[in-house]
Subunit: 185 residues, 2 copies
Amino acid sequence: MKLAPALQYSHELLKNTVRPGETVVDATVGNGHDTQFLAELVGNSGQVLGFDIQPAAIQATTTRLAAANLQNVSLYQTGHQNVDQYLSTDLSAAIFNLGYLPSGDKSVITHGQTTIEAVQKMLPHLRTEGLICLVVYYGHPGGNDERIAVEKFTATLPQKEFNVLEYQFVNQAHTPPKLIVIQKR
Amino acid sequence: MKLAPALQYSHELLKNTVRPGETVVDATVGNGHDTQFLAELVGNSGQVLGFDIQPAAIQATTTRLAAANLQNVSLYQTGHQNVDQYLSTDLSAAIFNLGYLPSGDKSVITHGQTTIEAVQKMLPHLRTEGLICLVVYYGHPGGNDERIAVEKFTATLPQKEFNVLEYQFVNQAHTPPKLIVIQKR
């Protein structure tokens, strides 16, 4: 068994957490890989709320979901820090892929401040044992600043309410993504 | 599903890696919990080599193994840095619990230099996808120095030969153990 890379490990945790019928958030839909994964986990009786500021991401994800015949996703072309305007129920999980859109405009990146704001707005909705997974790519300009801001924020979440796990490969020349997981206790 | 604490996660990884008939090392047998766990994983056709410098640890573990009727363990009352004198076969896994003997003499602790020496001597024996798990307790005097030394050593292992994973809860007032895993590629 090979040790799971960060993104794969986040999917293993989500598979063990998310149940059919639940509500989940894809905070950075990108090309829609995670959106589809989450839509399949929650099934027809559940729902995915997906956020991205880039039209190309919304378009690519719409196409992907249609091809997979998945109709339980609501996509919003807006920043994930506006999640509170769309979220009214309990949340079992959320995923963020921090960085830029793969094969998109590399100058459009996620930022620590809005990432943290989105997390803060989701935390009160998170059910017991629910997860927020932050897959932090930080090899690009601006990435390290966001990583540091997110680490600082998550490391100080109250331990009576949340467990925060960091999962990271450390002996690599290039910077593979680091996974930060917040679990509601 | 609750996120697994460090020691529990190391056991999950070992369960998914170690096969009956293989050779494994418990580098710090302590009260023998991990020794028994490993002995059950490798079964009668496998073997566990167990190391501890303290007579109390060897005695407690001998008693535990006898009660469980496990006869596939060789215990050595010597430092784990001497592992090379006893290891002649391929190794599928090793575990270290760094710190002091629970309910024992808290002034007798593991040290970075000998821990690293033990790891260095085992790495050439490690089979592909084999694991060395270091469960690093570091809340005691001297613990932080060992943690830093081990992190520095493991983070610079050549990435063509090994993957090194760090797994750690970060928002806790007390210092829960941190898991460092070395996997042979």
